[in-house]
């Protein structure tokens, strides 16, 4: 066992080293900045939690936080059901072997492989009222639409863009979960006279659970970190109406070079994402454990 343990650590060592280099050292630098006032290379003061206090009183940051939470909640609420619905409608074996099915897979995966600034570019070109198909189309219907001038239009465009970009991830994950369900399960459900909804709830959902946890976690993290797409599409505007957390942070760190507050903001930002992912994970896993216990109790009662 001792030999196993030593070899075990040897196996994880490369990962630890590489993540230490690209993750831990930079994070320590950020933490270091967040408690110091750096005047120049040689003059710096320890300021404790002053920067943290300052940014927590920053109204623009709190506004960006509100927008960020609204954005993430909205896109998750749309993308997860949509992804599952798309996955359920995709042709499965043996029908899913032909050219059509392969083309469908490629089309679904394509938005995931578009560089994020190109996603912004595609939607800018598509939604502009003067040269865009969508923008021109909406205006042709008699609705005055201009996402670079009206805040609500900018928001809708941003959501539409994200709903173009990401449901495929959920759909692909859910589809792979669905293909692992043996056909006998459906036949059994049919014999029992189950409705479509019951099949979804009691046959498909249990199989989808683990892939969906991954999918939701990835979407949650990535939606909270979004930067490039809104930066290209709206530039955070009009005004600051679509400025989300990452963009506000980038303006602070690179634009204004407020290193101390930006570092304190970074630390809290990271902790916020960690907290939300942890809350989601424990909520789902804990509820599952409770259900397991309940089922075991029932079984014990039957016996």
């Amino acid at each position: 066992m001792q030999a196993n343990q030593n070899r075990a650590w040897l196996g994880v060592l490369p990962v630890v080293l590489i993540v230490a280099f690209s993750g831990v050292i930079p994070l320590m630098t950020v933490v270091n900045f967040s408690v110091q006032d750096v005047l120049d290379v040689n003059t710096r003061f320890f300021v404790g939690f002053d920067w943290y206090r300052e940014i927590l009183r920053d109204q623009r940051l709190l506004d960006a936080l509100g927008r960020q939470l609204l954005f993430s909640a909205t896109v998750l609420a749309i993308e997860i059901p949509l992804g599952i619905a798309v996955a359920r409608a995709m042709p499965r074996e043996p029908k899913g072997r032909g050219w059509g099915a392969a083309a469908l897979l490629v089309l679904l995966a394509l938005p995931l492989l578009v560089p994020w600034n190109v996603v912004g570019t595609i939607w800018q070109v598509y939604a502009r009222p003067d040269i865009g198909l969508l923008g021109h189309g909406i205006n042709a219907l008699g609705i005055h639409y201009n996402f670079s001038q009206v805040s609500s239009h900018a928001w809708i465009t941003l959501i539409l863009m994200d709903v173009w970009h990401w449901p495929s991830l959920i759909a692909l994950l859910a589809f792979s979960g669905l293909t692992s369900i043996p056909n006998q399960h459906y036949q059994a459900a049919e014999l029992d006279g189950a409705s479509r909804w019951q099949v979804f709830r009691f046959v498909e959902m249990p199989r989808l659970r683990s892939v969906l946890i991954i999918g939701v976690l990835l979407r949650l993290m990535d939606s909270l970190m979004i930067y490039t797409e809104p930066f290209v599409l709206t530039g955070g505007g009009p005004g600051t109406s679509t400025t989300l957390l990452s963009q506000y942070l980038a303006t602070m760190a690179v634009g204004q070079f407020d290193v101390g507050p930006a570092a304190a903001f970074s630390v809290l930002y990271f902790l916020l994402i960690l907290l939300l992912c942890w809350l989601f994970y424990t909520a789902v896993v804990k509820r599952d454990l409770e259900q397991d216990f309940a089922r075991q109790g029932e079984r014990a009662a039957h016996e």
Binding site: T29, V114, S176, M221, M225
Partner: protein, 272 residues
């Protein structure tokens, strides 16, 4: 096949509508790429009336674009290689051994995936300048390891844990050395897993730009950053921008086409 596993009419309609929703912006990008700027700005048409390949000719002949594409592919391939190389042994260890702090270590790895790239803008710039890697594809590849390595370990561990441990023991009983077992037996069993992992490493490294832009200046500029060239004081060169956008779609299409079978089968096998 029976009636319950077949999608309903509403479900099929959703799928078709969604596909249309996916295609329309891409269709528009392609038509823009095939039109000249005067044509784009002059009059609005639903489909292109005149075709020109000027924009594509510019992208394929001007060395700036070619270099950008090569730079991008270099760091993506480097990143994918490094990620797989370090993640495979780690995932094997996590799936096979219980050791002191294994769960904590695994969780700590995942937390790195949750760090927003914007947080690392300043320290990365300093760190990579300090070690002399600034403006090289290697810098971007290493920076992208921040999110690709944890993801690769996460996916691979799920798959490898579903391969029964008895296989390891049987191979040892048959007198195979660990090396032979690992490379001849174990890795081929996890082919689909490696395919899926490759896809995800490629995907997240290829699409990320905030770090790629920050860590490069001129020599290692990725193609997506070269696209800012089309925006000048005299306005945006929409046709050229669209043509470059179309070109950045091609590597993605090629990769999906090759891993499309693994993509579905692979996920279904692992508990991920």
């Amino acid at each position: 096949m029976n009636s319950l596993s077949k999608p309903s009419a509403v479900a099929r309609l959703t799928l078709w509508a969604y596909c249309l929703y996916l295609i329309l912006p891409l269709y528009w990008l392609l038509t823009m790429a095939l039109r000249s700027n005067q044509d784009i700005l002059g009059s609005f048409t639903w489909w292109p009336t005149s075709f020109t390949l000027v924009n594509f000719a510019e992208v394929f002949t001007n060395p700036v674009w070619r270099d950008g594409l090569i730079n991008s592919l270099t760091y993506v391939v480097l990143n994918t290689g490094i990620s797989i190389l370090v993640a495979v042994p780690a995932a094997y260890v996590f799936s096979r051994f219980r050791f002191l702090g294994d769960k904590q270590l695994f969780f700590w790895l995942l937390t790195n995936r949750m760090a927003p790239p914007a947080v690392f803008l300043l320290p990365f710039f300093q760190l990579y300048s300090a070690v002399g890697l600034f403006d090289t594809p290697l810098a971007v590849a290493l920076a992208h390891c921040l999110f690709t390595v944890p993801l690769a370990v996460w996916i691979l561990e799920g798959f490898m844990a579903s391969v029964p441990k008895e296989i390891d023991e049987m191979a040892a009983l048959d007198g195979h050395s660990f090396g032979v077992f690992f490379f001849r037996i174990f890795l081929p069993l996890n082919r689909a897993a490696i395919g899926v992992t490759l896809f995800f490493c490629f995907m997240f490294s290829w699409v990320e730009l905030l770090l790629a832009r920050t860590l490069t200046a001129s020599a290692a500029k990725p193609i997506a950053v070269v696209m800012t060239r089309t925006i000048s004081a005299s306005g945006v060169d929409w046709g050229l921008l669209a043509a470059a956008g179309v070109v950045t779609l091609i590597p993605g299409i090629v990769v999906v086409w090759f891993v499309r079978k693994h993509l579905v089968r692979g996920f279904a096998m692992g508990r991920v």
